[in-house]
């Protein structure tokens, strides 16, 4: 085998999450009320557009979650030796972005630059020294000396536009076929409806968003092999590569945190509300205590502890990737412990209300067991709160990760994340002239991700909250 697959804990949980999402889709398709609620999400242009953006991020994150260790080339003269695998854990995304990952420069270079950002002393051929901006090793190295970068970019514009246009046409064709089939094969009609935005679901918004995304992807696809599109950082790493890698960290923090704590919040919240008595007291006590500890401090304390445990047991982890993954997972758990209390309280309140309703009392009168009532009658009726809490928490967690990593109690410093990116970029602002691109890249990627998540959360809340 050319490679050995590696399954990190967070990978596993992410895949479980994706499988869960697929199961939920099947479940939703079978139940008309749920289908109606999701249709409401799809009818809003903001819903469709934000879903498209989130999908793009999810694709990046999933590609970055398929890890493997590549086989090292066999040693000369030892033909029968067993294959040795590199200790470096790579992901499919790393593999696809290999040109970006491997073509590092000496240090900072601006976006689309062909020269370093700082002067260097070079020995002249005829003796003596001079200080010049040396050419980059990779960025713009295809250009002859003195060629204009702007002219080169203009040349590539046509290719980019045609790539993006082709992607758009493909998308439009698929959409027309799908919508047209729903309209008994009146495809011309379907095409017109999509373009005018008259379809039931807001396909036009999705289409416009896809157009923007494919334009960006096409530009990156064409230009990234030639230039450092958003420049390089202090050690010469491509900033675009760093930004794309950060997406997975943000997604992991945003989704797995709620996922690991969801069972506790749901079980405890429902139990407290329905059973009452000492169970209620105990659970209320538990979450008041956890709430009383300032969140950041609890996280800080727990992360410091985790770090000690990880540092004192180096034998638990085979590779560096596993170690930083353990810290990422630990951070998810810790963030989860501090964030489940809110949902638990909401669920307790809702259950208190539900248990007095007629149908629950009827079920009790018929002698249904407590477990059955909780499972059949209470749980399905609080799921909308869970759903809303899930999507609402996501953006907050992504933002929290950046702040925590900046403070030094977030992800492992070797894990690429928006927080570590910002942390490294901090010193660059004080430089003269300023190095702005890594900050700008982190800002742009985070802003788009969090904005999409916020818009999506709003639409989902509007669709699922019965009071609205």
């Amino acid at each position: 085998m050319e490679f050995q697959p590696v399954l990190l804990w967070t990978d596993l949980l992410l895949f479980v999450l994706v499988a869960g999402a697929l199961l939920m889709t099947i479940h939703v398709r079978r139940h008309e009320p749920l289908r109606a609620a999701w249709r409401k999400v799809g009818q809003r242009p903001a819903g469709m557009a934000s879903m498209t953006v989130l999908m793009a991020f999810v694709v990046i994150g999933l590609l970055d979650s398929m890890h493997f260790r590549a086989a090292l080339p066999p040693v000369e003269g030892q033909p029968d030796a067993a294959t040795i695998y590199s200790s470096e854990v790579l992901s499919v995304l790393d593999h696809a972005l290999a040109p970006l990952r491997l073509r590092t420069e000496k240090t900072y270079s601006a976006p689309f630059a062909d020269r370093l950002y700082q002067r260097e002393t070079v020995e002249l051929a005829g003796g003596g020294q001079t200080r010049i901006y040396p050419r980059l090793e990779h960025g713009g190295s295809h250009l002859p000396e003195g060629a204009s970068i702007a002219a080169d970019l203009a040349q590539h514009l046509v290719t980019i536009l045609s790539h993006a246009g082709m992607a758009m046409l493909a998308m439009l064709t698929v959409l027309t076929l799908v919508v047209g089939r729903g309209r008994q094969g009146r495809y011309g009609d379907a095409l017109r409806a999509i373009l005018c935005g008259h379809t039931k679901l807001a396909w036009r918004a999705a289409l416009v968003t896809t157009a923007l995304i494919s334009l960006l992807v096409a530009a990156a696809y064409v230009l990234a092999p030639l230039y450092h599109v958003i420049g390089t950082d202090k050690v010469g790493q491509d900033v675009l590569y760093l930004s794309l890698k950060s997406v997975r960290t943000a997604l992991v923090i945003g989704t797995i945190t709620t996922l690991v704590m969801l069972p506790f919040a749901v079980a405890l919240g429902i139990a407290a509300g329905y059973l009452g008595g000492w169970v209620d007291d105990a659970i209320q006590y538990l979450y008041t205590v956890l709430n009383a500890i300032p969140g950041v401090l609890l996280i800080a304390a727990a992360v410091l502890m985790m770090q000690v445990v990880i540092d004192t047991h180096p034998d638990w982890f085979e590779t560096a990737a596993e170690r930083s993954d353990a810290r990422l997972l630990a951070l998810c758990f810790i963030l989860g412990i501090t964030s489940w209390t809110g949902l638990c309280r909401l669920l307790r309140g809702e259950t208190l209300k539900l248990r007095e309703l007629e149908y629950v009392q009827a079920a009790r009168a018929f002698g249904a067991s407590t477990a059955t009532i909780l499972r059949r009658h209470i749980l399905p009726n609080v799921m909308h709160i869970v759903m809303i809490a899930l999507v609402m928490d996501f953006s907050g967690l992504v933002l929290a990760e950046a702040v925590l990593s900046y403070v030094g109690i977030g992800v492992d410093p070797t894990t690429i994340s928006f927080g570590t990116m910002i942390n490294m970029a901090r010193a660059e602002l004080a430089r003269e002239p300023m190095v702005w691109w890594s900050l700008a890249a982190a800002f742009a990627f985070m802003f788009v991700l969090v904005l999409a998540a916020n818009l999506f959360a709003d639409v989902v809340r509007d669709a699922f909250d019965p009071r609205r």
């Binding site: 006590y285 205590v289 009383a292 401090l297 410091l304 000690v308 004192t312 900046y406």
Partner: protein, 325 residues
């Protein structure tokens, strides 16, 4: 009323004990003093003697819960749990790793923290409520729509960027105020303007949107219709009636934070090098000074509980129908 407060205070004791137990578990059981010493000294140089010396220096050499070598009450009092955890109830926090007394340090740093947190709190309350009322006044118009869009966009920016951007723009580009630092007395104003302004702007998006939903919920009530029917102007209705009646949900979120104000803001203080409690905590986290972090956790939870009680009391002030018995 007094009886109610007393009962609430009694109720707070088990919660504080719970907090104490959790922090004790985190700091001493999950991670033994030996591990701590090894981290601080450095794994390579951590000989058994060095670890023992480190523990004796900082008073970590006692047994966890019960001291078998002593008799009488000393069996309990000569332990880590009593020394490091229970003493906090008497506000005895011990010494930080740099040898300074944590309690005096906290007293010294309270001032700067309050100087930045209090104006921030008042200004952001004022700004976000005004903004929210404005949006409600123009509800269901383009102004409202774009206002909400602006709020969502502002919410989506990480607070790190507000600070970095603000420092860069105001301090570096326009050179209006110093980038960071602090001075006592009236001079402090120069150093405080920017951090306060940035904190207000950073929190505006989410809080204005939250207040807007509260006000919108209130505006569909019957008494609002009556007030309009009486011929009151929309502004009078909003400020006189809606704002007054929406105070309960507003207070629920707001009063809890008031005591916590003195803990300062971790991020803003450390970015602007303000010698308050927030930056103290961050420094302690970075230096892995567990005694300080533990003290701050304890103080934070005490303040939170005070905040909860204050919230309940504030209800009676706003709404005479609320009786605390």
């Amino acid at each position: 009323m007094l009886g109610y407060v007393l009962r609430r205070l009694l109720y707070a004791i088990p919660i504080l004990i719970g907090v104490n137990l959790i922090t004790f578990l985190l700091f001493f059981v999950v991670n033994s003093p030996d591990d701590m010493a090894r981290m601080q000294i450095g794994v390579k140089r951590a000989t058994p003697e060095a670890i023992e010396r480190w523990k004796v220096d900082r008073g970590y050499d006692k047994p966890m819960f019960i001291n078998e070598t002593k008799t009488g009450t000393a069996r309990i009092t000569e332990t880590l749990f009593f020394d490091k955890s229970l003493r906090m109830f008497a506000l005895d926090f011990g010494r930080a790793d740099d040898g300074r007394d944590i309690a005096t340090e906290i007293l010294d740093r309270m001032g700067p923290s309050l100087a930045i947190a209090l104006p921030t709190f008042l200004l952001s309350l004022f700004a976000s409520i005004t903004f929210a009322l404005l949006l409600v006044f123009f509800r269901a118009s383009y102004l409202d729509f774009w206002g909400v869009v602006l709020c969502v966009a502002m919410m989506s920016v990480s607070s790190l960027f507000y600070i970095i951007g603000g420092q860069w723009l105001v301090s570096k580009l326009w050179a209006l105020v110093p980038i960071s630092g602090y001075a006592g007395g009236l001079d402090a104003f120069r150093f405080l303007v920017l951090p306060v302004l940035i904190s207000v702007i950073a929190g505006l998006g989410s809080s204005a949107r939250w207040y807007r939903t509260i006000f919108l919920e209130e505006i569909s009530r019957d008494y609002v219709r009556t007030a309009r029917a009486k011929g009151l102007s929309e502004l009078r209705v909003l400020f006189g009636h809606v704002l007054r009646n929406a105070l309960i949900p507003v207070l629920t979120g707001v009063v809890v934070v008031i005591p916590l104000l003195f803990m300062g803001s971790l991020l803003v203080e450390s970015f602007f090098a303000i010698p308050g409690l927030g930056s103290y905590t961050i420094d302690a986290i970075n230096a892995q000074d567990f005694a300080v972090v533990r003290a701050m956790v304890f103080i934070g939870s005490v303040l939170y509980i005070i905040g909860l009680i204050l919230t309940d009391l504030s209800y009676t002030l706003v709404d005479p129908r609320v009786r605390l018995e």
